[in-house]
Symmetry: C2
């Protein structure tokens, strides 16, 4: 392979192979429309010249970038990281690449990023949650772009959604605790600010409690964001109110780990004196001295399904438009019957 003076292109291949550019293009994208003889001749020239088709030109001509944009609130939380990884692997399998953006839980930023991604010509857009900036729906409609809301399941909405049923998950988890005899519940919640998933999960808790005419006492509710240290602190605030709740529900995995570590530090006997549960399963929850009961969300599955759905749709195979992903309760040693 001689060092080319000018970057070689389709025309060079065509010239060397003694065919038209159209034939080369067809030989690559629609082989069965080209005679065996030419097909192999072209192939060999392509290999010999080391030609690599220019994606931008192709994109301009086909109006397809084979690129898919995703906007996550953050990438450092385990669930989104896992989803991102699965997403990109699965997309790569279908010949698509992932354009990544981060909204930092801010709707305006999400909107702006979406605009950027659309300018880049993404074939589809992946969002998290179902409530977005007021201007987003119009933007999506005008650009006629395929879009899916992930990490939520709500078939009654208009758009496509792929994720767990957040309400149901926490409704069940709470019910499980109630059936263990718990009546006083504490909640270390994840902030519901710009987070409809957290809001929906909270709703699940309230629904389950309401069915039993129960409610969370004011002192037993604390709201934070994320992180073990924050979990510890919020947990301590909750157990400052007497009488203690006998079951504490945490809004995410890290808050739960924090609550657990703090309960240990305070010598609270879990689960005999108090049960603790979390949401989302990360490895440390299973490995702590007292493993934590939680809801296992298959984030990889969310990512994989989203990728498959998008590819299938883009390739013209019509599909469903709402997928519920599993959200199984994993019972570990941190939960038990209510004391006394």
């Amino acid at each position: 392979m001689i060092h080319p003076r000018r970057k070689i292109g389709l025309r060079d291949v065509a010239k060397v192979a003694g065919v038209s550019t159209a034939t080369v293009s067809r030989a690559m994208n629609n082989p069965e429309a080209v005679s065996e003889a030419l097909r192999s001749r072209v192939a060999s020239v392509v290999r010999h010249l080391g030609w690599v088709p220019d994606g931008t030109a192709r994109a301009l001509a086909t109006k397809r970038t084979h690129t898919i944009g995703a906007i996550f609130p953050t990438l450092t939380h385990g669930d989104f990281a896992r989803a991102t990884q699965a997403l990109q692997s699965e997309l790569a399998l279908g010949g698509y690449t992932l354009l990544l953006a981060c909204s930092e839980y801010r709707p305006e930023q999400e909107l702006q990023q979406a605009q950027k991604l659309l300018e880049r010509g993404v074939d589809a857009l992946i969002l998290v949650g179902e409530t977005h900036h007021a201007a987003l729906p119009a933007l999506l409609r005008n650009n006629a772009v395929l879009c899916v809301n992930t990490f939520v399941y709500n078939p009654s909405t208009h758009g496509t959604c792929i994720g767990p049923d957040n309400r149901k998950a926490l409704y069940r988890l709470t019910t499980y605790l109630a059936e263990l005899g718990h009546r006083r519940f504490g909640v270390v919640a994840q902030s519901t600010e710009n987070n409809d998933r957290a809001r929906t999960r909270l709703q699940g808790i309230h629904d389950a409690l309401a069915e039993r005419s129960l409610a969370i006492r004011p002192g037993h509710f604390a709201e934070g964001y994320w992180g073990i240290a924050e979990g510890r602190q919020l947990f301590r605030r909750i157990v400052a109110t007497q009488p203690w709740p006998t079951a504490v529900i945490c809004g995410n995995a890290y808050l739960a780990v924090g609550a657990m570590l703090e309960s240990q530090a305070m010598n609270i006997r879990v689960p005999h004196e108090m049960s603790i549960v979390g949401y989302d399963d990360i490895e440390i929850m299973a490995e702590l001295a007292i493993p934590i009961t939680t809801v296992r969300v298959l984030s990889d599955e969310v990512g994989r399904r989203t990728a498959r759905f998008l590819i299938a749709t883009l390739e013209g195979k019509a599909e469903r438009f709402a997928y519920e992903c599993d959200a199984e309760i994993v019972i570990r040693a941190s939960t038990g019957p209510a004391p006394r």
Copy 2:
């Protein structure tokens, strides 16, 4: 804004504004080259028509996609997730977007992904480590693409690198332990398979020990990949050999957490009977009952610096080509003087 029948383009804007397409283009990309009057007229028409320039066409014309590709071994490990997040935020600030790929620690896959990204026309490529598939250097050279090796610092190499000095970091950590009187070292290493960072860190340990004529006994070395459960298991294997090492160095944060939890489960008194250290700092290490001494790598900084370097270079501002990122030893309760 009336619903457009056909997607509006530059020519539509030009027509409505009563100017040439060139003027519209200039008004957008090089405002100071256009008279105030036309500039504002164009701007208003653009806004009125809601025109969004087509990125693919622009890319084809300028040979610039304003897109940067990154290939990480994985995205679920904390360090890469943090770096990715910082990377994309910082790139977004400069008007670039991140194309993400994942090599799964496989050189062939890295090569293939690189090829894909180059086809997509990325303006630059971000890799992890400095040893890649044999065919990669040629590929990069042929495409004359800007490239940086991250998470390594080795100014003697040819390419640009941005990251911590892995060897030095573990050399120091080991020295710190040796100065506490430790002589028998155990290592729960991260596999060095396709991972030059891990290899270099191991080298740092060996160098520090060699200076003191020390070596790791065969039974005191175990190699694994990642994960708390694996850390537990490898730790147990190491303490199966008598006499125990008095200090155990773990190859990453999760292996260290696993080792620590297992030592607790085995009722080994840390640090009195044994010191345990890790590499990379994640929140849980600071929050466990016995917080773990480790090396804090500022992955965010790696990401941010990489982004800044690339943007600066692409904008024509020449810069340095090797940046060392901090790798500070964070001393916590898991380390202390060697027993007896």
